[in-house]
């Protein structure tokens, strides 16, 4: 960063999985990174734990403001005047969206709308990245899905994300703003919250290997997902905003893996061969060597509607951005287990 002015970027959702990886990557590239964080009356620290290193070294600037506070957000945009804005914030749990559909809309769709409005009014609108989601395809009309596939969301989360992706396109087409959506399929890491299924499985495998007595409870083991590795997706996100043309980009591995296969892969990575017995809500998983119960199905985790065949065709991102993910499916399960073990002993519950 000699005589060249550092690229200034602003990130919403900077404390989350993608936001924290993105902040690290952009800092490493010499960007001046600003982040939006919700103000809490009590800061427990854990929320910012992924940013610990960056904060210690004063490599990022955090601005406290709730996305629902339009005035505060507008002032931050005006004072930071970012060249790029990455909008990653929002309630991101699909199952939870059935319980809290309205706040899911507010956080996912309403905030995107407000941010687009704010950017539209700026003298120099930043390049705008919106974190879309494969959930907009829900029950897809075609397999795999690409940027032109019809949106058919099957959850309140998917409906809200479809709203946001459509709205980004409307703002791009109507006002000529540089607004792009990454339509990302599941992408996982050790920074996922434990209420997400991959992290839950990985943590359970690590604990089982340590000999802890615990039984992993999961929903539909036949559910299949296109799972990738979050740091690779964060690389895709950056490429999207550096591209000469704004648009929608599917980010996906193109491989479908069932929950059952993922479980088997994670346990195999810690040296346990899991055997599945029974069917449907009666299905259980046993330690093949000892016969110990490791997993049972709990219908509590069934979704009212489970998307089928959500698998992405990322050939546009590959062709136009040169983006090619390498970690997928069962390899991902093993990768997450080794990352987890490298992070040190997991906290006990």
């Amino acid at each position: 960063m000699s005589d060249v002015q550092a690229r200034r970027v602003l990130i919403s959702g900077i404390t989350g999985q993608d936001g924290s990886y993105l902040a690290e990557a952009l800092v490493a590239k010499g960007c001046e990174v600003h982040g939006l964080v919700r103000r809490l009356s009590h800061e427990d620290g854990s929320r910012l734990r992924h940013l610990d290193g960056l904060m210690r070294e004063r490599r990022i600037v955090l601005h406290a403001a709730d996305l629902s506070d339009r005035g505060a957000i507008r002032r931050i945009f005006e004072s930071v005047s970012p060249a790029e804005f990455y909008h990653l914030a929002g309630q991101s749990h699909v199952g939870l969206s059935f319980e809290i559909p309205e706040s899911t809309f507010t956080e996912v769709a309403g905030s995107t709308l407000a941010l687009l409005e704010i950017c539209r009014d700026l003298p120099e609108p930043p390049r705008f990245y919106h974190a879309g989601s494969s959930e907009i395809f829900g029950n897809p009309a075609e397999v795999p899905q690409n940027e032109d596939s019809a949106y058919r969301p099957t959850s309140p989360y998917g409906c809200a994300k479809a709203f946001a992706v459509n709205l980004c396109r409307v703002y791009r087409e109507a006002y000529g703003l540089f607004v792009s959506s990454g339509i990302a399929y599941n992408h996982e890491s050790v920074r996922r919250g434990e209420n997400f299924v991959t992290r839950k499985i990985v943590m359970s495998a690590v604990r089982a290997a340590r000999g802890d007595d615990q039984v992993l409870e999961l929903g539909n083991l036949n559910a299949r997902r296109d799972w990738g590795y979050a740091p690779e997706f964060v690389d895709g996100i950056q490429r999207i905003l550096q591209h000469h043309e704004a648009g929608e980009f599917v980010l996906a591995t193109g491989a479908l893996t069932s929950l059952r296969e993922f479980v088997a892969g994670a346990f195999r990575a810690v040296g346990i061969d899991i055997e599945f017995r029974g069917e449907g809500s009666e299905e259980i998983g046993l330690d093949g060597a000892t016969g110990k119960l490791l997993l049972r199905v709990n219908p509590r985790y069934f979704r009212p509607l489970d998307p089928l065949n959500l698998v992405g065709d990322a050939s546009k991102a590959s062709r136009e951005l040169g983006w090619r993910p390498t970690v997928r499916g069962i390899d991902l399960a093993a990768k997450l287990v080794s990352d987890e073990l490298a992070e040190g002993p997991p906290e006990r519950h």
């Binding site: 309205e102 769709a109 309403g110 949106y151 459509n166 109507a174």
Partner: protein
């Protein structure tokens, strides 16, 4: 006696639907927004009728942005059928007030469905959602049917598409009898004056009577599938009488330009026009006097114009037995004559 609850009861569709349901013997409840000045002109003839108002027609204060209010109204009324017609329904205005549009058109629909689920009415009530051809926006095929992919081009279209999907979602997740009517443009003398059809017929009558000089419009080449509103509200009712919920395109299957609409409307008031010039320089000239009656103003261009909205109502015809009977020419004539009469009345009042 069946009970119906209608949001947007003071609007064009709400008022026609109310009349039709009362005629079918329903008890009708309407939700109206609280405001310092009531805009109930379209249902005043019902409110002023003592045999109807507060005996078979009831109005409740409410707002789609207030969940607890929706819950209370639902519990008090206990409706068999709900028609969710309330919306910020003006496409161009939605670019100016997108957040409000989203709040009412998208979240309002969600709040309603969630209230139905929470009040235990999910198995009893039937829900009609006023969806719109604006969902198709930049059309992916012509004509558009229930299976055509959506491509909304305005904040209004995006918000309405959320409403559409959340209806499908609540139907599939919770078994609610919830249906979408994907209505193409439907017009009548009760259409709001800011909508292009009404703006044209109103101007035709007023120019004819010397109350105005010239009509300014946006894109004259824009094409629409225009039907007659009372036929479309009849279809809403038919959708809710089906044993199974579903989504239906409601359209005439014919497309006409704004220019054609103008020609018929001005001819109906005795001012035949012909168009000359192109783009912003295009003008509608009176064939008899050579006066310019219609001109183009870029102020009325939409940021992103929607083209070739043409509906395929085959499913509605097959399943519901619904077919529109009022032709395009009839529709324009009905509207132009009604507005001409209003203009004549205004002149007469001024004369006194």
């Amino acid at each position: 006696m069946k009970k119906a609850l209608i949001t947007g009861i003071t609007g064009q569709d709400g008022s026609y639907l109310t009349e039709q349901l009362l005629e079918k013997g329903y008890e009708v409840h309407g939700i109206i927004r609280r405001s310092s000045s009531f805009n109930t002109s379209r249902i005043d003839h019902l409110i002023e009728n003592d045999e109807i108002y507060n005996s078979r027609l009831f109005l409740h204060h409410g707002d789609l942005t207030d969940s607890s209010n929706l819950n209370r109204v639902l519990e008090r009324v206990g409706p068999d059928e709900i028609y969710n017609l309330a919306a910020q329904s003006h496409v161009k205005v939605s670019f100016e007030v997108p957040e409000y549009t989203a709040e009412v058109d998208a979240v309002g629909t969600l709040r309603f469905l969630d209230a139905i689920k929470e009040t235990g009415l999910a198995r009893k009530v039937r829900f009609y959602q006023a969806s719109t051809s604006e969902l198709y926006g930049k059309v992916q095929e012509v004509p558009q049917s229930e299976t055509t992919p959506f491509y909304p081009r305005s904040p209004y279209g995006v918000a309405k598409l959320y409403g559409y999907w959340i209806v499908v979602n609540y139907r599939e997740s919770y078994g609610i009898h919830a249906s979408n009517g994907i209505l193409f443009n439907h017009e009548s003398p009760r259409r709001g004056e800011t909508f292009v059809t009404r703006k044209i017929t109103r101007a035709a009558g007023r120019i004819r009577e010397g109350l105005e000089d010239v009509l300014l419009l946006g894109n004259l080449g824009a094409q629409r599938d225009w039907g007659y509103a009372p036929e479309y509200t009849e279809m809403m009712w038919r959708i809710l009488q089906q044993p199974e919920p579903g989504d239906y395109v409601c359209a005439t299957g014919e497309m006409h330009t704004v220019r054609e609409f103008c020609e018929h409307a001005f001819a109906a008031v005795g001012l035949p026009v012909e168009f000359t010039g192109e783009g912003v320089d295009e003008k509608g000239i009176c064939k008899e006097t050579g006066r310019t009656l219609i001109a183009v103003s870029p102020n009325y261009f939409r940021p992103a114009e929607v083209e070739e909205l043409l509906g395929n109502p085959a499913k509605a015809k097959r399943v519901l037995g619904w077919e529109p009977k009022v032709t395009f020419r009839d529709l324009v004539t009905i509207m132009a004559e009604a507005d001409w009469n209003l203009a004549k009345r205004e002149v007469a009042q001024k004369g006194h």
